[in-house]
Symmetry: C2
Subunit: 926 residues, 2 copies
Amino acid sequence: MSDDKKWVYSFHEGDGSDKRLLGGKGANLCEMTQMGLRVPPGFIITTEACLHTLDDPRQEFPEQLMDQVREQMARLEKETGRGFGQADNPLLVSVRSGSAISMPGMMDTILNLGLNSDTLQGLIEQTNNERFGYDSYRRFIQLFGKVAMGIADEHFDEAFEAVKRQVGANNDVELTGEDLRRITTVFFDVVQRQAGRPFPLDVYEQLEWSIRAVFKSWMGKRAVDYRRQFNVTPDIAHGTAVNICTMVFGNMGNDGATGVGFTRNPATGENVMYGEYLTNAQGEDVVAGIRTPKPVVQMAEEMPEIYRQLEDLRNRLESHYREVQDFEYTVENGVLYCLQTRNGKMNAAARVRTAVEMAAQGLLTREEALLRVDPEQLDQLLHPRLDPSFEATPLADGLPASPGAASGRVVFDADRAEMLARDGEKLILVREETKPDDIHGFFAAQGVLTSRGGKTSHAAVVARGMGKPCVAGAGGISVDVRSREARVGERVLHEGDVITIDGGTGKVYEGEIPTVPADFTSELRTLLDWADATARLCVLANADTPEDARRARELGARGIGLCRTERMFNAQDRLPLVLEMILAEDEDKRKQALDRLLPIQREDFKSMFQTMSPYPVTVRLLDPPIHEFLPTERELEEELQDLHQLRGNIRGMTTLMQSLRTTSPELIGTANLPAFMQEGGVEYVERVITHKRRMLSKVRELFEINPMLGHRGVRLGITFPEIYEMQIRAVLEAAAECMQQGTEVHAEIMVPQVCTAQELLRVKVYVDRISQTVQETFKLKVNFKFGTMIEVVRACMRARNLAEVAEFFSFGTNDLTQATFSFSREDAENKFLPFYNENGILQDNPFEVLDVKGVGQLMETTVKWGRESRPDLIVGICGEQGGHPASIRFLHAAGLDYVSCSALRVPIARLAAAQAKLRESEYDAG
Amino acid sequence: MSDDKKWVYSFHEGDGSDKRLLGGKGANLCEMTQMGLRVPPGFIITTEACLHTLDDPRQEFPEQLMDQVREQMARLEKETGRGFGQADNPLLVSVRSGSAISMPGMMDTILNLGLNSDTLQGLIEQTNNERFGYDSYRRFIQLFGKVAMGIADEHFDEAFEAVKRQVGANNDVELTGEDLRRITTVFFDVVQRQAGRPFPLDVYEQLEWSIRAVFKSWMGKRAVDYRRQFNVTPDIAHGTAVNICTMVFGNMGNDGATGVGFTRNPATGENVMYGEYLTNAQGEDVVAGIRTPKPVVQMAEEMPEIYRQLEDLRNRLESHYREVQDFEYTVENGVLYCLQTRNGKMNAAARVRTAVEMAAQGLLTREEALLRVDPEQLDQLLHPRLDPSFEATPLADGLPASPGAASGRVVFDADRAEMLARDGEKLILVREETKPDDIHGFFAAQGVLTSRGGKTSHAAVVARGMGKPCVAGAGGISVDVRSREARVGERVLHEGDVITIDGGTGKVYEGEIPTVPADFTSELRTLLDWADATARLCVLANADTPEDARRARELGARGIGLCRTERMFNAQDRLPLVLEMILAEDEDKRKQALDRLLPIQREDFKSMFQTMSPYPVTVRLLDPPIHEFLPTERELEEELQDLHQLRGNIRGMTTLMQSLRTTSPELIGTANLPAFMQEGGVEYVERVITHKRRMLSKVRELFEINPMLGHRGVRLGITFPEIYEMQIRAVLEAAAECMQQGTEVHAEIMVPQVCTAQELLRVKVYVDRISQTVQETFKLKVNFKFGTMIEVVRACMRARNLAEVAEFFSFGTNDLTQATFSFSREDAENKFLPFYNENGILQDNPFEVLDVKGVGQLMETTVKWGRESRPDLIVGICGEQGGHPASIRFLHAAGLDYVSCSALRVPIARLAAAQAKLRESEYDAG
C-alpha cells in the first residue's frame, strides 16, 4: 500500500453505498450526514485498514493511519469547539465496530472514550451530574479494561460487589456519586494488578488501543464461527470498520432526551411513528430499565418542537431509504441528533403491509414491494401460532413435521377420535406412528403427535397434506395404546388430558396454550395478486381430496398439479375394497372389487373438478406398491398367534361348559357364554384365521427388498391393467358428467414411475379405448390431457421419446432426487444426511431444497430434449421442493411452466415465482 | 405392379447376394450355378410374388406369374431333354420354400412334383425300380394332399396302416411294390373323400397349387410366432421365395449316389472333408436310416472319380464362400450335382479352429477371422460341459446361475464340506440359500445348488466370481439341513449321494454324468492374441482373491478392474473380526478390531499385486451397508428364543439333579450332567444371550428401508473414517512392500457410491495423509492412482467436478442401471421384468445387456464431461454388462478405455472388444 492511502473517511466524505469498505453502520452515518440530517460529527476507519493490520506479521497499523486519525480528531475538535483530552471542555467519542453485515461476537461500543481523571471534571460540569460522571467513568474503565486490555469482567465485578457490600448497597441505584468515585479508584488497582500496567490516561493511547481491539475482534472466535455457519464469505463482508463519533448527551438538562424509533409500527405495519423516549437521559438508561420510557406520541405534548423534528426525520429517512427504519436519536440542549439508522426488523404481517402501503404511497414500485418480502416469512401468516407472549416449558420435543399450533384432548386411536369429535371435542391424536387406516383420526383431530418416525413419516406427510399441525418422532414419549396412556419421564398423560403441540418448532406442552390465528390479510391478498401478475411460473397445488382442493384454491392455487389417487384409497369406506382387490385370486375377482371402487373414485374426481373449475386437475394413477395397503408380516403373525390362542380358549371354555352341564348343572344355572364363544365361535375364529393367513401369504408374496425401486407405479399399472383402467374410467366419466352439467373441466391423467415410452404407449392404449367409450356414451368430447411424471432418471434420458407420447411432464423431484443421489430419503435422513450437511459435504438437504447442480442439471436437459420433440410441451414439478423459494428461482430459470406444492405453500410459491421473474437477470445456478 | 414385372428368375439370372428377394436357398443355387458348379437346372419365384399374392384381397397370383413359370419350365424341358407331364421321359421337379433366413413352420420340400399315373411309368423305367416309383408316388400324394390340399396326415396314415394290416407287414420295408401301388389307389380315395375332389393329375395344376401352398406357409402360425419371438423384422426377411428345381436321381444304378458333406469337420474344425453317402440311393434314404451311410473317405476307393470331383467341389465352395460349407449332392449316372450349400453350423472349438486356420491359409484376413466367431460361443470352451452324447433325465430344474457342469457328493453345510474336501471328496454344496459365512463351503465344493434365490442371489454371484457351476432357485428341492437330506418329490437325497449339476442349463441329475473338460485350445489363444492386437478397449477382470486373479490372468486379463474388498471380509478367519468392528461401542474398540484386520488385508493385496504384476489392480473400498455382515433380525430372534429355552432346560435339569441327589441318590449313581449343563452352564448361556442381544440391537439400529440406497459405500467411509483408513493403509503398505521387493505395482484406489466431489476430497485427505506416512516409512514413492466408481446418477451429472479429483472413472453399471431405471434388480427380476421383456416393453434385461438408450446415454455424457476437465481421464466399466459383447460394442463407441468383467468372461470380452473395433464404422446406437 502506498503511504498516501486513505484509511480514514469523515462522515462527510464516505460513500454511503460502500458498506464493504465502511461497514453498514458507518455507511449509514455518512449517508445521513450527507442527506443533511444532523448526525454528531465523526469518522470511519476502513475495513481495509483492519485487514491490513491483521495481515501484518506484527499486526502493526498501516503507516499514516494514526496520522489520519489525528487529522480527523482535530477536525472534530474544531467542529465541536471542544478538545480531545481537554479538561474543562472535553471532546468525548464513541468507538464502535461495524462490518458490512452485523455480526455477533465483534466488539461492542465503547462510550465516552477520552475520559480520564482530568476530563471527567469537565463532563461533570457539563452534565452537572457528578454521579453520572463517575458512573460513566467506571463503566468506561471496565469496558476498556476488558476489550482493549483483556481483563476478565469477573475481576471488576468482584471489586464492584466488595464496595457495594462495604457501603451496604443492595443494588447499583443506591450507590452515590462518592461510592462510584471509590469504585473508579478500585478499578485502577484492578487494571494495574491484572494487566501489570496502569490504565492509560492518555486519550490518544486510549483511542489507539480501542482501534486495535476492534480490529482484533474480527478474528474473535464467535465472529469467525458465525461467518462459517452463515456462510459469510469475503465478497459479503471482509474486515470490520471502526466508527468514531462525537458523544452527545441527552442528560444535560430537561431540554435533553434520548430515544429509539421505528418509522412505522414493526408489529402491525401501521403507518405511524413508533418508539419510546426518555427526557434528560442517556441511551443506556432506556436499556437499563431503571426509568420507564414513554411512548413517542407523548413527546408531541411534552416537546412539541422536537416531536416535529422527529416526524420530519422519520419522513426524510423513509423517503430516502424507502424502507421502514429503526433509528436512534439523542436531544442535546434542544438539538436533535440522529445517531444511527438501519432497516427495521418486522414480523411477516408488518412486512407485507408496509410493502403494499409503500407501493400504494408511491414510495416503491410494485416490483420493489414484491421483492421486499421474504416468501418463507409468509408461513407465519398461514398457520395459527403459539402466542409469542406466553411463556411455557415444553413437556417433550419432537420434529417440526407440519407447521401450526393446536391444543386438544389426548386421544390414542382413530376410531375413538372420530367418536369424540362428533361431540365437538378438540383432539390431538397421539400414536406411536400412524398408518393408512388411521386416516379418519386425522380428519377428527386438530393435530397429530407421534413418538416415532421422521419428517417423511406417514403422519408427517398426511398432516402436511391436510394442513394440520404435526409433531413427529417425539422419542421421549412412550405411548401405550392398550392402557390409553402415554408416559413422558415420570409424567403420565391419560386420554382426555389437554396438550398443545407446535408443529413449527416440534415442541409439546401440557395444557392449553393460547394461539394467534392465521392471518391472511387483505394486504397479503393484494401482494399475491401483484405476484401472480408478475410471475411467469404458474402455481398449482398438490391436493388429494376435495377439501384439500378447496383450501388450495382459497390460497390462490390455479389448479391441482398432483392428486394422489392412492390417498383416496385410504379412507375408511374404501380400504376394505382395496384389500379385496389386492387379495383377489384372479382377474375376475379383482375386477369385481374394482367395479365397486369405480363409483367412489368417480365421485371424488367430480368433486375435485367442480371445486377447481375452470382450472386443471392432474390425477396421478396409482403409484405406491400395493403392499403398502397391507399390514406388515410381523403384525399379521402376531395377530395369528392371538387368534390361535383365542381359538384354544374358546375350545377350552365350551368343553368346560359341556362337562359342567352334565356334572354340575347347578354351577351354570341359566348362565351362558357370550354368543361368539358358543358353538360356532371356533368356526368364526377359524374363518378369521383363514382370512389373515391369506393376507399373510399375500404380504410375503409381495415382499420387496427395496420397495422404493420395486413393483409400483406404471409397472403395476401394466402388469395389472384393470387397476389403471378403473382409475382412467373414473376420471373420464367424472369429467364427462361435469361437462354435461356445464362445468368447465381440464382433466389431466398422469402416469407415475415411467422409464420408457413403451410404458406410456401401453397406458395410452387403455386411455384411448376408454375415452372413446365414454365419449360415445356421453356424446361429448372429454377435455383431457395425457402426461407423465418424470421421476425416474431413465425418463430424463428418454425425454425426446416420452414427449412424443406425453402432452405434459411433471417432475416428481422427491423420487428423482432419491434416484439421482441413490439416497433413500428415510434412510439418509436418519443416518448420514445430517452429518453431510453439518460437514459441508452437501450444502442443503436435497429433499427440501432442490439440488440444482445434480438433479437440476438433469431437469434442464430433460426440458430441453422434451421440447425438441414437442415444442409446446407443458412442464411442471410436483415434488416437495416445488414450494421452496430458492428452488423456484431455479425452476423459473429452467423454463418450467408451473410448480405444484402443498396448499399451505401456495402463497409462498406465488411470491417466490414473482421474485424469480424479477430477479431472473441476476440468476446464476453456480 | 406393372404387367411386365419379373417374378421369376432362373438360376442363371438371379443375383446370389439378394437373399431378400430370392431367399437364402435360392440365392445360393444361383450363386453356385453362376460359379459354374453343376446344379440341376431350376428357377426361383421371388418373395415379392409371395407378398403380392398375400396382399391381394382374393389372394390371386400376380398377372404374368404363371406365364413366366411356364416359360421357365419350357427352358428346363429344353435343358434336360425331358417333358413336364411327359409319360415316357418325365421332367420332375422339387418345390421348396426359402426366405432370407431359414424358419421353422414354413413348407417342407415337395419332391417328384410332376408325377401322375402316366409319368410314374416313365420314372419306373428310368430308375428301373418299381417299388421306388410307387413309394415316391404315394409319398408325393400324401405330401401334396397335406400341404396343398389341407388334408390331415392321419387320414393317409390310417389308410396306410390298414393296407399294412391286410398284407401282414410289420414295417414299411416289408411292403412290396405291389402293396405300394395299392396304397396309391387308396390314397386317391382319401383325397377324394377328404377334399371333395380328385387328386390333380394335371402337372401344371400340381405346380400352381404347390406355389400357392408355399406362399401361404409364410403366414402359418409357427412361422409367424417364430418371427415374433426372434424379432425377424421385414428388413431381415419379408415373404418367402419358391425354389423349383429339376429332380436328379442317385438311385438309377450303381453309378448313382447321394450324400451330405461339410468342407471341414464341424465337430473339431479339422481341415478334411467330412460327410456320408449312399450309392444307388436318393436323399431321403440317408435320412430314413434304412441303409447305413458310408463315411465319405470310403468314396475315394469306391468311386474315385466322383470323389475327386467332390474334393474339387469342396475346394471351390470354400474358396468362393470363404466359410465352412454344409452341402448336399447327388450323383446321377456318374454325374455329380450339387443340390444345396449353406454355411456350416459348428461348435465353438471348430469355429475357432477353422477361423484361425483359414486365416493361416490366406483364405481370410485376421480381421475376418476375428469376425467369424461369436464371442458368446466361446463360453462353451471355458467350462466343463455335460457330455452331449450322454442322455439322462433331470431330477430337478433350477436357474442357470453360473455356467459349467460338476458332479459330487451332496453336502448340506459349509463346515462339513470343508472337512470332507480335506479327504479329497468331490462335493456339491446343497443349501436353501447361501450366506457370507458359507464362503468356505464354496471353496471346498465343485459346485453349488440352492433351492431359493435367483441369478443375483449370493450363491449365484459368488459362484460366478469363483467360476464354479451353480444352479440356483431349484424350487422343487426342499432342503432339510438338520436331518441332512433333501427331498425332490418322493425322492430323498442324503448326504453323500452323488448328483451332477449343469449350471449352463439349470438342470440337476442324479448320479455322475460324464463331462467334457474346458477346452482352451492353442487356436483360441492365437485368435485372442490377434484380438488383443486389434482391440482398442483393454480387458480387465473383476477378482476378489489372489486365486481369482490368477485365473483371470491365465484367461488373458490385463489387470484387475474391480477387487471387492468386502469379499475378503467374508472369509472364516475374518468375519469374527468384522463382527467385532461392527459391534464396537466406540471408535477405539472399532480401531482395535480394524488393527487386527489390517495385516490380513495387506497380505491379500500383496498377493494380488504379485499375481498381477505389472498390470494394475484396482481396489474398491468397502461398499455394502455393514448390516450385510450380520444375521437378520428374525434369525437372531429365533436364536434367542432357543437360548431362553435352553437356559430354562438347564435350570430344570440342575434342580432335578440336586433334588435327586438328596432324595434318591441311587438313581444317579456316578452319572453326571454334561459339563455345560452343570453349574456355570446357565451363566455361559446368559453370556451368549447378552452377545446375541447386542447383535440384535445393532441389527435393529442398522435397519434400512431401502438398503440399496442407504448408508453404504463412501457414506460409510466418511462417517466411520477408520474403516477406509485401514483399507487405504493396507493397500499402500502392500504396494510399498511389493515395490521394495522389486515387484512392479500399479495400485488403484477406488471409492464407491460417490455423488459429489466433496466426498472424494474427504477420502483423498486420508489417502494423502496415509501415503505420506507410508512413503516416509518405506522411503519410496508408491505407485498408485486415486479414482471413483460412477454408479450414482448424480456422479454423472457432476463428472466435470469429480474428474478434477479422480484420475479414473469406473462405471458400476449394476447400481447405475438400478438407479437409472429405479428398478431394484432383485425385485424387478422377480416381479415385472420378465413380463416387460416378453411384452417388448423392454428389449433386454438391462442388468445383463447394457441399456444403451438410457444408461448408455448417461455414460456418454459422463465421459464427455469428465474428459472436459481431465483430458487424460481413464474410463472403464466394472459392472456385469462389461463382459457382454453387445454392450462392449457400445462401450467401445463411447470411448471407454477398458472393460472389467468376471474372469471367465475375459476371453469373450477380448474377442468382443476386437470385433467392436473392426465394426466401429457400422455402429449405430439407435
